[in-house]
Symmetry: C2
Subunit: 230 residues, 2 copies
């Protein structure tokens, strides 16, 4: 396996995996880079290039074996292992994350929840008792965790990240709306709502333009007009 | 402009835009699909294909004009307009979103905040007074909004989405950890933490494997060993 795989390729792998897992569930044996590309709106060349980083999965002209590629991606992405996750900040978001139904199925076990609020400490969320975030480092020393989800207010996000790293956590998913910094070797993802909004305004703008063009000879509500080649 | 552009291409445009805006800010005049591809870890062919959906920006062998492509993407993505955003659910997450420093710069104006909690209604967050979510539809009729961010508990996410759509909102960014359904013509994005976690476990697994292989002849901390071709 080459040392340097572009980060964006790695970020695309979960999307490939999700599609392949679905095809696998549907009993599909083989899939072409063409079809994967169509489903994901990516060129077949890009698909082949992305997957080529991880070895020779496909056979020229015969496509990829769906069960084999699914399993290989599962192993590559580390989804054949279980990962322990702590959530820091048990406000509404942290509470929602702790109750998220998708984690356990995908190999992510929420092992501990932390908050600083006396009213929240000791309460139970999704079967886990919220602990005092003052104990974070001690707890992590006794029972290491792989990943932390940070859902605290912006003002303390960096401090919490520092303490998590100090406690040996090597991956942080930051929901706090501020950028935090971690040392090399620690994985960090920010959930940035602006990028999501920007992909929606593209559509809003198109619809708005369409509305502005409303008094056209062909009424837009007539489906045959939509289907007619331009 | 063709009628059907794959959704994933549109989702990539904000990432292109962000890179181009940076290059533009740095005073760059021209950029090649090769260089864009290297920065983003995408093949130059994919870049050219993605951008070709929106007309002929590049000149063969001369690259793209950075200011022009930045401006065109800005217009395509609808970032030359201001968009009004309401946030529903002013718990810690909603509060954090309302205070997010990145929205206003990018053309997103948070015009109203809503919550159902009597203790929260009437308080001010980032200069906006939280209103009773019971008034949502009435308010939207009087003062339409383009986009809503939903940060309510899962149990009421669908109800809130229905009411927003009823009130004329045409784009919803859902943070509630449950899938909601909206009619055709309404844009919807879910923020799914599992995909983010999966792109990090790839790295965790590699590091874990490296640690397991620790007693190797070449110490991994020696940078020259890292640089040596395998």
């Amino acid at each position: 396996m080459p040392l340097e795989i572009p980060e964006v390729v790695i970020d695309r792998l979960p999307v490939y995996y999700r599609l392949l897992a679905r095809l696998s569930y549907e009993g599909r044996a083989v899939v072409s880079s063409q079809e994967l590309g169509e489903e994901l709106g990516v060129t077949p060349a890009q698909i082949r290039k992305d997957l080529s980083y991880f070895g020779r999965f496909g056979k020229q002209g015969r496509g990829y074996s769906v069960p084999r590629l699914t399993e290989e991606l599962r192993v590559i992405l580390g989804l054949d292992t279980r990962w322990s996750v702590v959530v820091v900040g048990i406000g509404r978001l942290g509470r929602a994350i702790a109750s998220y139904p998708g984690f356990e199925d995908q190999g992510f076990d929420i092992v501990a929840l932390y908050d600083a609020d006396r009213k929240v400490i000791g309460t139970e969320v999704a079967g886990v008792v919220v602990r005092d975030s003052g104990h974070l480092e001690d707890d992590l020393r006794q029972r290491p965790a792989d990943i932390a989800v940070v859902a605290v207010p912006s003002t303390i996000a960096q401090e919490i990240a520092d303490r998590l790293v100090h406690g040996g956590v090597r991956a942080i998913l930051n929901y706090a709306p501020t950028r935090v910094v971690v040392p090399a070797g620690v994985e960090l993802r920010h959930i940035n709502p602006v990028l999501f909004l920007q992909s929606m305004t593209y559509h809003l703008k198109r619809t708005a333009n369409r509305n502005l063009r409303a008094p056209e000879p062909l009424p837009r509500r007539d489906p045959s007009a939509e289907a007619r080649p331009a």
